[in-house]
């Protein structure tokens, strides 16, 4: 849909049936350049929150019809990246905890002081040129009077989940967001790189600061730049820019794995597929992979030279691997810090039925996973393995997979992220 003209100071959706309060909020925020849209009930609020572009939602818990809590669940399900600030007269801890569990970013009780409410909202509004960083209105506790543990209680540190829109429909990173908010009480901002526009020299909607943690699950080149920007600003990333860039570059990744002594199918690199004519006949069929990998996109099986002649290839440089027949079943290793899991599932090249079954992680598999992780310095990773007669052969390594079939992965990852965040805060301060 075509959104209304964007206000300089950002757009706020207020879902509030009390017209007196709504009017006060409209005046307060429009005065400082924000565009405020007021939805008088949950039905309209859910529609606007999930179809229009807002920087933050201010949501009254006590709405007529669809309750504020139901609306919060609806927003969190469809737009986990959209910050929601709850506004309510019910100030008991269980209500607050329920809201935070359901994905609220913040919680303000009535009666509220407008300047304090503004402070909560401002944290989620885009930075305007010359106004400093996005969070500079948040009061930072004095470092000489409070230790790191105390500082963590402020909740000012943010987990920035950097992803692509298409991943919002997948398990990850959405499944990570819930335990981070509910179990660890972390402020989580989900940013879709493909929906973001940043002005060079300005933070825009991407403004992690030292002390925050960035969790990238993305295949976007633009996101790599954002990751690099964050690292230059001293922000810790779950997987670093260099690690993500290395596994995305398949020829480079293959060379690094080979150097590390990881067993792989026979692999050739060439400027273009025509150059593969010299690959020995005994090595065919080949799997041709594009230079920049994105799951199984663009992978082609070529049986022989005739197939090579018929091939239409637009990806430039090519990585070719000897095809190893494993009956269409892949072994997938998942890792998160020290944890390693393994599942069997159909090869994405032949998958017609989705299934997934857990596999016991043997010492060899654990060693293989950790070798791959160490090669690229990855914290959250996946390793595609062919369980061949000659032993496990690694065909791909990727950063932050979907952890399909691993039920406990979100919780383990959230613990890992929380631990890293603690370390990051300690280091930064």
């Amino acid at each position: 849909m075509i959104a209304p003209g964007r206000a300089d100071g950002g757009r706020i959706l207020v879902v509030e049936d009390d017209q007196r309060i709504a009017s006060v909020l409209v005046k307060a925020f429009e005065h400082t350049g924000q565009e405020v849209v007021v939805a008088a009930d949950g039905d309209v609020g859910l529609f606007l929150a999930t179809t229009d572009r807002f920087d933050v939602v201010l949501l009254d818990l006590g709405l007529p019809g669809q309750s504020g809590m139901a609306l919060l669940h609806g927003i969190s399900r469809v737009r986990p990246d959209l910050p929601v600030v709850m506004l309510t007269g019910r100030d008991n801890p269980s209500v607050r905890a329920g809201c935070m569990d359901a994905g609220a970013s913040s919680f303000v009780t009535k009666p509220f002081i407008i300047s304090e409410l503004r402070g909560e909202i401002d944290r989620f509004l885009p930075q305007r040129p010359g106004s400093g960083t996005r969070f500079n209105r948040v009061k930072k506790p004095s470092s000489d009077s409070e230790g790191p543990a105390r500082k963590l209680m402020t909740g000012a540190e943010t987990v920035w989940v950097l992803t692509d829109s298409r991943y919002l429909a997948q398990r990850m990173p959405g499944a990570l967001v819930t335990p981070l908010r509910a179990l660890h009480r972390r402020r989580v901002v989900v940013v879709c790189a493909d929906r973001l526009v940043t002005e060079v020299g300005c933070a825009g909607g991407w403004a992690p600061r030292a002390g925050d943690l960035v969790v990238p699950r993305t295949r976007s080149p633009f996101a790599l730049e954002l990751l690099a920007t964050a690292e230059r600003a001293g922000v810790t990333c779950l997987n670093s820019w260099s690690a993500v860039a290395a596994v995305r570059d398949k020829p480079r990744a293959a060379l690094m794995l080979a150097t590390a002594g990881v067993a792989m199918p026979r692999t050739w690199l060439a400027d273009n597929p025509r150059a593969l004519r010299d690959v020995p006949a005994s090595a065919w069929p080949l799997l041709l992979k594009p230079h920049l990998g994105d799951n199984a996109r663009g992978i082609v099986k070529v049986a022989d030279l005739d197939g090579l002649d018929r091939l239409s290839w637009t990806d430039g440089m090519v990585l070719a691997q000897q095809y190893v027949d494993v009956d269409g079943v892949d072994l997938k290793l998942y890792g998160a810090g020290e944890a390693v899991w393994a599942v069997r599932r159909p090869s994405p090249l032949r998958a017609s039925v989705a299934w997934c079954e857990p596999v016991t992680v043997t010492a060899d598999l654990r060693r293989l996973a950790r070798t791959c992780a160490a090669t690229f310095n990855l914290t959250a990773y996946g390793v595609d393995v062919l369980d061949s007669a000659a032993g496990p052969l690694v065909v791909d390594v990727n950063d932050f997979p979907n952890y399909t079939g691993v039920d406990e992965a979100p919780e383990v990852l959230s613990d890992l992220v929380a631990t890293l965040l603690t370390g990051a805060v300690t280091c930064a301060w």
């Binding site: 209304p4 017209q19 007021v38 529609f47």
Partner: protein, 434 residues
């Protein structure tokens, strides 16, 4: 193949004639005024622009023009393979006589498609038969058809060759039940056995939201639809209307559900978002005054403002608060300004009646809303809640205190909804002066 289109307005010239001409049909436009037919002939063509993600422009040429009722018209109808009308709901009844005359001069059967924002086919058949005065007519099929396109600009006024600008949503759904022959294969044209569902889907959702955007937008000082729907005060109210109406249409016509089972995102939010995007089409720059004109017609019981209200309540919905505000806004069209809206003849009649007899009487006379109907009170309360300040208009709240407490209604006359209630004029959101 030969086609006669009765009408030379936006739908005829911005959609129907280009559609058939592009498919190789020989098209004749039949105009109400001889002067218009002359202009079309002298211009020897006109421009058509289609907005959207892949906008394009083309010139329509080779289209003949005659005056409806003339000898040339009768001859064109005698030779035609298909007859299509697009004259506006209010003018359909006037076609009885010229069409009866023309049909009396042919022997072959023919189909007539009535492309209007209303269920007019049966009425036109009656008008033709009444006007035939016993003369034998050939067999003719007559069927309603729903055109989804919005043509915002273009017309045959004095001046240069016109350009008709419309959006890219170009589907024509023809009621197969009323036809003698098959619907020809044409781009975007399809036959349906669920004509009324399709008509109400368009009229009660898209057209309803369109009209309410225009009325609220006019009160907000906007002159084009894209600006009106971009107004942060207007947009949520229109969204509320669209959601209320879309839900009711789906409840009344389950055949409109897209997949094997209902999906709120696909069946409700998707079409509502699509409608909003079409209102916001900046290339179309549809004038507010075009969409808002003739408010009495639009306030008629079965039309786009009250038709959906009736449907909402017939499927068990509560008093639709957003529609109540939209209808109240329609009553105020043209108030206090000497612009095109202020000069709209129907708007002037409404203002006079409101001033002399009051809102309840106007709702009774023009909308058939009785005094004991809770929706009548909901409209009246919101009507009285608008405040015309010097440089801005204060909108009343969507939900008044009592509306929020209103129980879900079992039907249109379950009068448990109590009006009363002072609503805070001062609490209306103050518009930025525009």
């Amino acid at each position: 193949m030969r086609l006669v289109i009765v009408g030379s307005g936006k739908i005829a010239c911005g959609y129907l004639a280009p559609l058939f001409a592009a498919a190789g049909w020989q098209v004749t436009l039949a105009c109400r005024a001889a002067q218009t037919a002359d202009r079309i002939r002298r211009a020897a063509g006109w421009g058509v622009e289609v907005t959207g993600a892949s906008p394009f422009a083309r010139t329509v040429t080779g289209v003949a023009a005659v005056r409806a009722g003339s000898f040339a018209f009768r001859r064109a109808v005698a030779d035609a393979d298909l007859l299509v009308t697009a004259v506006g709901v209010g003018n359909v009844a006037t076609l009885g006589e010229p069409l009866a005359d023309a049909l009396a001069g042919r022997r072959r059967p023919i189909d007539i498609w009535v492309v209007e924002n209303g269920d007019c086919a049966a009425g036109l058949r009656s008008a033709i038969l009444a006007a035939s005065s016993g003369r034998p007519l050939p067999a003719f099929g007559i069927a309603g058809a729903v055109a989804t396109v919005a043509v915002g600009r273009g017309g045959w006024g004095p001046g240069e060759r016109p350009v008709f600008v419309g959006d890219a949503d170009r589907v024509l759904t023809v009621d197969r039940n009323g036809l003698l022959g098959q619907v020809p294969t044409l781009d975007g044209v399809r036959a349906t056995a669920s004509y009324l569902a399709r008509l109400h889907e368009k009229l009660y959702v898209f057209n309803a939201g369109h009209a309410i955007t225009a009325y609220l937008g006019w009160l907000g000082g906007h002159d084009s639809m894209d600006r009106a729907i971009g107004d942060p005060l207007v947009r949520p109210i229109v969204v509320g209307c669209l959601l209320e109406a879309r839900r009711a249409v789906l409840a009344a016509y389950p055949c409109l559900v897209g997949g094997s089972e209902f999906n709120a995102a696909a069946d409700i939010h998707g079409p509502v978002a699509a409608a909003l995007a079409r209102y916001a089409d900046r290339q179309l720059a549809d004038p507010v005054n075009r969409v808002a004109r003739e408010p009495i017609r639009k306030l008629a019981p079965g039309d786009r403002l009250l038709g959906p209200v009736r449907l909402i309540r017939s499927v068990g919905g509560s008093v639709p608060a957003h529609f109540a505000l939209g209808v109240a806004a329609a009553l105020l069209y043209g108030r206090g300004r000497d612009d095109a809206a202020g000069r709209d003849a129907q708007a002037r009649v409404l203002r006079g009646q409101l001033a002399s007899r009051g809102v309840m009487a106007v709702l009774d006379e023009f909308c058939c809303l009785s005094e004991d109907d809770p929706f009548t009170h909901a409209v009246a309360e919101r009507y009285r809640g608008f405040v015309f300040a010097d440089d801005a208009v204060l909108f009343p709240p969507v939900h008044t205190t009592d509306a929020l407490l209103a129980p879900r209604m079992d039907g249109p006359s379950t009068g448990r909804f109590s009006p009363s209630a002072p609503h805070a004029l001062a609490s209306g959101a103050l518009r930025n002066g525009q």
